[in-house]
């Protein structure tokens, strides 16, 4: 049986979701048995390949490079998982949207708050152009599965991957997984309590 072609992509996020991916610990070894990581910020590959089975996309779409990237990812992947809150809702990356565009944000960062007062970096090919509005992944391409959490915990990612591969839906309630939450799969109560583990009020 051919190994699954797995990819992970990092757009406008803090890489926390990728850190969580590494938190799967020894399961990574099991995962390597069934899947081959064909593209990831964690491995040395420059070009997103074709024929990817499953891709985890971390982060929101913030600039033109992200825009191109996510379109290439969508075109070459069978199952696209929106991975973590930034990808799912825009989250922290999208806080800048209330400023009303890229220019006011750049001015705030490079002029108003810099010391000594600088200037907005001149256009170059090095830094991609910002979008006026930060977008969640599903606002740009079709998403197959959403995995909210900030970040989803390692065991949670494992559970989700297992479910996605068998085509099952992810039950948020069952895993205590929510926006801003960490989540933990059922039967892993020995794990350290997460910020969102408080009982839901009714």
């Amino acid at each position: 049986m051919a190994r699954l072609r797995l990819a992970t992509v990092w757009l406008g996020g803090c890489s926390g979701c990728h850190m969580s991916f590494l938190d799967m610990d020894e399961y990574l070894i099991d995962l390597a048995e069934i899947a081959e990581v064909v593209f990831s910020p964690l491995v040395d590959s420059k070009q997103y390949p074709e024929g990817v089975d499953v891709v985890l996309v971390e982060g929101a779409v913030c600039n033109v490079e992200h825009l191109e990237m996510i379109r290439r990812v969508r075109a070459n992947s069978r199952i696209l998982i929106s991975f973590g809150d930034c990808a799912v809702t825009g989250n922290v990356s999208a806080i800048r949207n209330v400023q009303g565009g890229a220019l006011p944000v750049l001015e705030r960062a490079y002029v108003e708050l810099s010391d000594p007062s600088g200037g907005i970096p001149s256009p170059s090919d090095i830094v991609p152009k910002l979008l006026d509005r930060v977008l969640p992944v599903h606002a740009v391409v079709k998403v197959d599965t959403f995995l909210p959490g900030c970040p989803p915990s390692g065991p949670m990612i494992r559970t989700a991957l297992e479910k996605v591969l068998t085509g099952e839906p992810i039950d948020l309630m069952e895993h205590h997984l929510s926006f801003g939450g960490y989540g933990r799969p059922k039967g892993s109560e020995h794990l350290p309590a997460s910020p969102s583990s408080s009982q839901s009020h009714s």
């Binding site: 825009l67 379109r71 565009g101 890229a102 220019l103 152009k129 979008l131 079709k142």
Partner: protein
């Protein structure tokens, strides 16, 4: 005030009739097209010719053919005592001398003037019940109303009918609420009347807020005493001693005329204590709305009169059980009250034979849009829409064709041209996904974009949502955005699905009628003009161009 006094006033009024009566419309439409300066010019012209004793200048209300304003009607007594009216439209102040010259010389019409046939199709196909005195009575003079029979029905109700008999008459007439929902008026009255004795209120809803609707405004500006009399009869029937008229603040002329009418009626003892020497007391106060569409919703209107924020509350309890300050309250619309004096005068059976099985009487419509003749129209219920649009309104102007008729404002829908033979009744319009509504009727032609129409109304509902419940407050915003994207050709099929799902939510889960009916314009345009939506859809392609930065950085 006694019946004899009413009769004496009537006689005094008719003895004052001048040989030549010139009536000028002073309803809002004609005022805005210059009838105020026209009146001054006519006064000067009459004075210059020394015709003061022969010519009487009357400031009246709406003469209905609003698109031809300012309207002037000249009545000349012929030798056999009959009066032949001549109607002029679009009269300029500069033409005042021409009018006076023509009446002085006894000519039928002045050449330079644009005369209108008062028996033309616009007028001939109407039936006047509510508007019977509009354009004849002088709204600022109670004597002129009394001379035309105002307050006779109230006298009869107080002296010859018990409250229960009045309710019975209204019930038998089959009158249904003219505010749009069509609830049987008699049933509503009976409910309030059956509540235990104590403080009760009568409220007139004159917060007419639908875009393109001006029926209630015209009635209030043209014949305010008819509404006051209807309210007084209602108060007698249900046992109330206090009434409120809630008028929207955007109707300053209606407000000032109502204020005048209330003061005059008080002075004549027709409102206040011991009316017509009976034990019946009834006081009416005006309450001015501050520009919120939702305050036309009865529970929000009650909050507003109480001095609270105008937000609706869930029913039950209905105002009939617990309304103003927790007391039983009867709320009807202007046109509903305006029907009452006629029902008592002519009898319930007379009224019930107008209209159809389910919808009795007449309905006043404000006809506007892409049509030759626009204005105020009163027709018996059950006439086909085509009758109103094509015969009365004269169809679309040269080079265009009727595409749809929008009824019921933001809560209504668009009826396509191929269904113009639909009779105008509560149920038949509802079956088409529209509503009778308060009576706004906007005709649209081939240039009107139905998605744009839906977006316009959604924008209206979004702005007018009170913000209390989530589906309406946030749902209308999202529906508006989706409609905007569809209109700009940036939406996908998924967006249309999302829009239809939102329509379902907002229609069923909103707290009050404003939210529940907000999706109607979308649903009805989707139902009859779905291709206009679908032809604009594109493949899902990510963010609209507006999301991408336009500046070099």
């Amino acid at each position: 005030m006694e019946l004899e006094d009413l009769i004496a006033l009537t006689e005094a009024e008719s003895s004052q009739h001048a040989e030549i009566e010139i009536r000028v419309c002073t309803a809002a439409g004609c005022l805005s097209s210059g009838s105020r300066s026209l009146i001054s010019a006519l006064e000067h012209a009459v004075e210059d010719r020394g015709l003061g004793d022969r010519v009487g200048l009357r400031e009246v209300g709406c003469m209905r053919l609003c698109c031809e304003g300012p309207l002037v009607s000249v009545n000349t007594s012929t030798s056999d005592g009959t009066r032949v009216p001549t109607l002029y439209g679009k009269v300029d102040a500069a033409q005042a001398p021409d009018i006076v010259t023509s009446v002085e010389q006894g000519r039928k019409s002045a050449e330079a003037l644009h005369s209108i046939d008062p028996n033309g199709p616009f007028f001939a196909h109407q039936k006047s019940v509510v508007l019977e005195h509009c354009g004849i009575v002088e709204p600022e003079r109670i004597e002129s109303s009394i001379a035309l029979g105002a307050y006779r029905s109230l006298h009869r109700a107080l002296h010859d009918l018990s409250p229960a008999e009045v309710v019975e008459q209204v019930t038998r007439s089959g009158l249904r609420g003219r505010g749009g929902a069509g609830y049987p008026t008699g049933l509503k009255w009976a409910t309030v009347a059956k509540m235990p004795p104590g403080q009760k209120y009568v409220v007139c809803n004159a917060d007419e807020g639908d875009p393109g609707a001006f029926m209630d405004r015209s009635i209030l500006e043209s014949d305010p005493h008819r509404v006051l009399e209807g309210m007084a009869i209602a108060a007698h029937a249900i046992g109330a001693n206090q009434g409120y008229i809630y008028v929207r603040g955007e109707y300053p002329i209606a407000i000032s005329r109502l204020d005048t009418a209330i003061r005059q009626a008080k002075r004549f003892g027709l409102l206040g204590s011991g009316i017509f020497d009976s034990t019946f007391n009834f006081r009416v106060d005006l309450r001015i709305g501050a520009g919120a569409f939702v305050c036309g919703e009865e529970t929000a209107l009650i909050h507003s009169i109480e001095g609270l924020r105008g937000t609706p509350h869930p029913r039950p309890p209905y105002p009939a059980e617990s309304g103003l300050w927790g007391h039983p309250t009867l709320i009807n619309n202007v046109e509903t009250y305006a029907n009452i004096p006629v029902i008592l005068r002519e009898g319930a059976d007379w009224f019930a034979q107008i209209g159809t099985e389910q919808s009795k009487g007449t309905k006043v419509f404000a006809l506007a849009g892409k049509i030759r003749r626009s204005g105020l129209v009163e027709v018996p219920m059950g006439v086909p829409l085509r009758e109103i649009v094509e015969r009365i309104g004269g169809g679309s102007p040269e080079g265009s064709s009727v595409k749809a008729v929008q009824t019921g404002g933001p809560s209504g829908g668009c009826i396509p041209a191929e269904l113009l033979d639909t009779p105008v009744e509560y149920e038949s319009l509802k079956a088409l996904g529209s509503i009778m509504g308060s009576g706004g009727m906007v005709v649209m032609d081939q240039d009107d974009d139905m998605v744009g129409v839906a977006r316009y109304f959604m924008n209206f509902c979004m702005d007018e949502s009170c913000g209390k419940c989530v589906p309406c407050r946030a749902g209308t915003v999202q529906m508006h955005r989706l409609l905007d994207r569809i209109e700009r050709g940036e939406a996908s099929h998924d967006d249309l699905v999302t829009l239809e799902d939102l329509c379902d939510l907002v229609q069923h889960a909103s707290l009050c009628g404003l939210g529940q009916s907000a999706p109607n314009p979308v649903l009805s345009t989707l139902r009859f003009f779905r291709h206009e939506y679908e032809s604009r859809l594109i493949e899902f392609s990510g963010p609209p161009s507006s999301a991408v930065s336009s500046d070099p950085r």
